[in-house]
Symmetry: C2
Subunit: 479 residues, 2 copies
Amino acid sequence: MTPTMTVDIPPLAQQAIKKIQDLLGPHGWIDDPADMERYLNEQRGLFKGECAGVARPATTDEVALVIETCSRAGISVTPQGGNTGLVGGAVPVYSDQCGIVLATERLNRIRDIDPLNQTMTVEAGVILADVQKTARDAGLLFPLSLGAEGSCRIGGNLATNAGGVQVLRYGNARDLVLGLEVVLADGRTWEGLSRLRKDNTGYDLKHLFMGSEGTLGIITACVLKLYALPKYQETVMCAAADAPAVLDLFGRVRAAVGDGLTAFEIINRFAFDITVKHIDGCTDPFEHSHEQYALVQTGGMSKDLREVLEETLAQALEDGVIADAVFAQSSTQAADLWRIRETIPEAQKHEGASIKHDVSVPVSSVPDFLTRATDLVEKELTATRVCAFGHAGDGNIHFNLSQPETMASDAFLNKWHDFNRQIHDLVMQMGGSFSAEHGVGMLKRDDLTRYKSDEEIDLMRRMKQALDPDGILNPGKVL
Amino acid sequence: MTPTMTVDIPPLAQQAIKKIQDLLGPHGWIDDPADMERYLNEQRGLFKGECAGVARPATTDEVALVIETCSRAGISVTPQGGNTGLVGGAVPVYSDQCGIVLATERLNRIRDIDPLNQTMTVEAGVILADVQKTARDAGLLFPLSLGAEGSCRIGGNLATNAGGVQVLRYGNARDLVLGLEVVLADGRTWEGLSRLRKDNTGYDLKHLFMGSEGTLGIITACVLKLYALPKYQETVMCAAADAPAVLDLFGRVRAAVGDGLTAFEIINRFAFDITVKHIDGCTDPFEHSHEQYALVQTGGMSKDLREVLEETLAQALEDGVIADAVFAQSSTQAADLWRIRETIPEAQKHEGASIKHDVSVPVSSVPDFLTRATDLVEKELTATRVCAFGHAGDGNIHFNLSQPETMASDAFLNKWHDFNRQIHDLVMQMGGSFSAEHGVGMLKRDDLTRYKSDEEIDLMRRMKQALDPDGILNPGKVL
């Protein structure tokens, strides 16, 4: 049908695709190879997809009809939101079967907002930043916040249980949801759009679909929880001699402000310095260099938050826990401090090839993990530069590696698997996770098999078998 | 085997029970009818159970061996925690098969507490109040709080996804859990005791077991989330002319203190007055009577919380939203105000027979629900006295009815089904739930079938089939 698909499309599937084209109209179907490009590639270039076409339904009923048609014809479906994932979960890979992409981008309505109930009902294709803005316009907060928020879509955020910088305070994406609407593998629709904060009637189905990366059903709409907008917010960059000191600081700040602590990020010296070196607008706010930095954000309704934070940091300074601290004096200065944190991945590109790890350990084990992981890396390849940063307050470290300065990129990247194995073995020994927030997709399927118990893999397979017995939803992903 | 079981126990089952007795020893097995009584009855006397005996394993391995043995012999198992449930979910009902109770009371160890990670690993049989106390002793808060906390057990709280008075701020029981250990229907154990705040590796299994009321697996241990203990706490009883005014107050307080609002309860005049009339230590703090009352609790780390609350209530008074307000000036006074709220069910017993509804609607619909439900009741039986109270801040109303003063109790109770039907029909029309926090058990199985969509029932059946194909776990409950 199109040169993008290498396998022959059987006649039954061709008829089904024709039916989908007729159903969705000219805006609803793409099979021109050039137009399909952006649906087939992911940003890091790790995976290259192919498929028979991209369906772009505009309503839940259209999604249901597409899935029902595909189900009957044995066509597989890869759901795709903003295609910003980092593990290849949204890339259609159909080397031996006929499949399509189902893009949610036209499911883009805000269906309802209820400020007193603090809920909002939105369709899967709404861009995260638009969800945030709609909440803010109603005087409320939708706290999910991550680097890709300008282009990722809420359906994808829920399907992958996205994380981000405020998990510490508000939880992962799944924790921000009251209800879902899901099209099932056979084309039926489960209408579970509950706006209730309490409903104890039967099994919880929504949590099964969230985080399943489109392998159990297709999320078409959701009811999101909203929160009070903090009236007061503080952002401080602190400098410390080592990671244990950073965690000491974390314990102190949390004891002082409780859930007023909304973000707590750790940045090692290398990560910090490369942003200052490579990124426009990143400047070092400190007089001296330090081994570790902590970016601390507090938010809440109390005007004494600043005073409490100042006292806590003054005491930490006096006790030698931190070496210095810079308070943002304006929202512009706060944005400048956050730019250092947010642009580390961009800055890392200027330092040659990278090997990345999105891992987590219990918060109390973060310093120990950093020491042991750095030791492993040094033993494996001494001159590797560790670029470790992340959400220390929830135990999620992006333990990234930049190639030795004098090494060829290819030679370094050949060690991808070895490094992954060693770091993942370590986090699993420490009761951690080999994928804290990015999910499994294609990139970490082997890890899933390696690290999960037989019982857990078996339970997951039973869920897949129960909900998608023919395996048409996002084949080749997760399991 | 025992006179408590009316069906004949087949030889294979008798051998299996002998094996379980040998395995668990004298403390681990009860089949004396008198000793079994407390496992067979539930507090409201709605259901009377029978079974072949009560297994009391002391370790997860013992649970696994009991279940494996039962599974092979076709013996059903009703798991039971503190047996404080209100829907008959823990009552063993085996009219046509052989079954036992599996009591978790000897699984009572605190396995671990990690203050910096703010987690605690405990076994299923630990009493909720002991979980709370252990957290408090470590300077932290475990926020699940409900009437039965002195005798209910954490495993049962999670299996039923318990609610309580702080859901508004901290969520339901399921929201307080990071990991689970579960014995599956075939006797295998899923070790999912994650202490991680971020782990995106595969399907979320824990939420499936939580709220399934023991029908999908037996929770033997869990990792709980802990929170900062509030440094400052305020409790205020407010009086208002009607329910819309109470919800207006709710919106104002939440806008002022955000998540500093930890409980917001509504109490109607009848419910308020009967506690003052019947319960020792309950006194009316107001000079006059009012139609509605709101019990407001705030908590947090900021010392200005009291000032902000005072200002908000002063403004509400000036605007005519509330008629009066009484601040607790000590923890004793706070306990006195809470006693009014907590003793309503006890006070209701003094007013004759009750018909109860544990329902929820979106928070913004609470006033409308109260008006419409009261209208229905008056049409059905004019002199019925509405005893409506509950967690207005999360939309969960205990819409209870006390019999007309001049009516016979039996005649009133004969209307149980009619009232239930009308109230449940109403909440479902309003996008609500017929069981907000108590679950389904046996009491609300028919409601489940009546109100859930075909798709949802089908999905639930698939889960049950996938996880307990022989149906040995808590048969007759939920589905």
